[in-house]
């Protein structure tokens, strides 16, 4: 028998309970929709589930999911690269830190949604501005976490490497870089979630396809069921991507993630 102080330090989520909870949520939703009885306010759960199946079968849904995912991936990769590079640069060099820190701290408080009009004017209505909006969000997340990671490298680790005669290049590639991989990965994982959240904003820029496009335009037709459908797809894709990123990055960088 476990004593009360050991009981559930942290619950590894119970999958059975989680599944039961989802089922319960679905039934409550259906129940509420029957009481409210208005497709505009809350469409029936079975209706939305049915539509999910039919639209997928007819091939209307997958192209939207695909375009959104491509935008997210492009912005995520670009933003991670820029963020990690700038974060390491700021962490290593005091000069760059002094130069970039004020700018980073200013721009990170300007929400990506503010940029949709300027980006539309500057980059047109193609893919570029949409991907850039996502890149913008991802960059700051990864930058801050990488920067904090470099600053947190134990001084003695660097001193030890120096003692053994490590030059600046060796120090950078063999000590600094491996030490911050954990933080870059952590920042990227949060940023991936934010990229999914931002795609709706990005698709405010004259999009013709994408899950965000469905969410934004369905409003004009009062098609709440379409909005919920797209939101479910977005959440599911986000969940799967998050898990995939976690597993893949843990496998790829296993050497650097041991504590």
């Amino acid at each position: 028998m476990t004593r009360y102080w050991e009981r559930k330090v942290w619950v590894g989520e119970s999958p059975m309970l989680a599944a039961a909870s989802l089922l319960m949520g679905f039934l409550i939703w259906e129940f509420l929709s029957r009481i409210i009885n208005s497709r505009l306010i809350l469409p029936s759960a079975f209706d939305v589930a049915g539509q999910l199946i039919t639209t997928t079968m007819q091939g209307h849904l997958l192209p939207h999911i695909y375009t959104s995912l491509v935008r997210i991936l492009a912005g995520f990769v670009a933003g991670s690269l820029i963020g990690a590079a700038l974060g390491i640069a700021m962490g290593v060099s005091g000069l760059l830190r002094a130069l970039l820190d004020p700018l980073a701290n200013f721009f990170r408080f300007i929400p990506p949604i503010c940029w949709i009009s300027p980006f539309l004017i500057w980059f047109g209505i193609g893919e570029t501005p949409k991907v850039l909006i996502i890149t913008y969000t991802v960059t700051f997340m990864v930058l801050l976490s990488t920067y904090a990671g470099v600053r947190a490298i134990p001084r003695n680790r660097i001193r030890a490497a120096r003692c053994f005669g490590a030059g600046p290049l060796f120090l950078f590639f063999r000590v600094v870089l491996p030490s911050v991989i954990r933080d870059i990965r952590g920042g990227m994982r949060i940023a991936l979630g934010n990229a999914f959240a931002t795609v709706v904003t990005a698709e405010m820029i004259a999009a013709q396809t994408g899950l965000g496009f469905i969410i934004l335009t369905s409003r004009n037709f009062g098609a709440t069921d379409q909005i919920i459908l797209a939101m479910i797809c977005l959440g599911a894709c986000g969940f799967v991507s998050d898990r995939a990123f976690d597993v893949a990055s843990r496998g790829a960088f296993a050497n650097y993630l041991r504590s």
Binding site: E6, F106, F109, C114, V200, R219, T224, L234
Partner: protein, 258 residues
Amino acid sequence: MLLRSKMLSQNWMKALLLPVPVIGFLLLWEFASRSFGVPQLFPDPKTTGQTFLELLRSGVLLSDAEVSLARIAAGFMLGSVIGIGLGLLCTVSWVAASLLSPYINFLRFISGVAWISIFMVWFGIGETSKIVLIAYTVAFTVALSAFAGLSEIKLAHLRAAAMFGATPRQVFIGVRIPTLIRSVITGMRLSLGNAFLVIVAAEMVQADSGLGFSIIAARNFLAPDIIFAVMLVIGLLGFLADRGFVALSRSMLNRYSR
């Protein structure tokens, strides 16, 4: 480089060099604006500055900022209370945590922006829907970090408390809650930034006042200088709110922040 990082010299360098990035950024902006060629579409820093001062003097900017800030404050408080409540619930009961986790893992990827239309249908086009929207975003972020904070509670701490004869109630108040406070504060800080994001989005979609509204109005009149001026205000307000929150939470809850 890495080795001689004395805090004092660092701060001095930062203060001395502060004008460099600011001036450099302004020059870059000026250059980009000139090379873009259409000043009506890409205003230079000077025009933006003039517009900013003009808007500030006429009081439009201040009243818009006031409206947005009031919405953020209401939504932030409501959301924090709900988020902390959910976090506490999950600390007390692992059944509640298991029941909530699929929704938290799922809704994490759906931003408030996606909810705007639905909340408008549910709560009308007035203040309620905007405050609920912010509360949703904030509650979510706070609950998520409280969730993450649960895993930081150390078994050793719980055992130590138990060894000194602490009752479950004392363990809860003396060990679990203090551990949770730190992550809740982090979550609240993050969500404050998100609140700015969401209120701008909500006001862009449906409002007749507020900072987001003035961005969309400026867009419809094709006045990018106003957009830039408002962005400047949002950036400054966000920055000040963040620093204010950090200072406040430090002075009040310093002993929990290690």
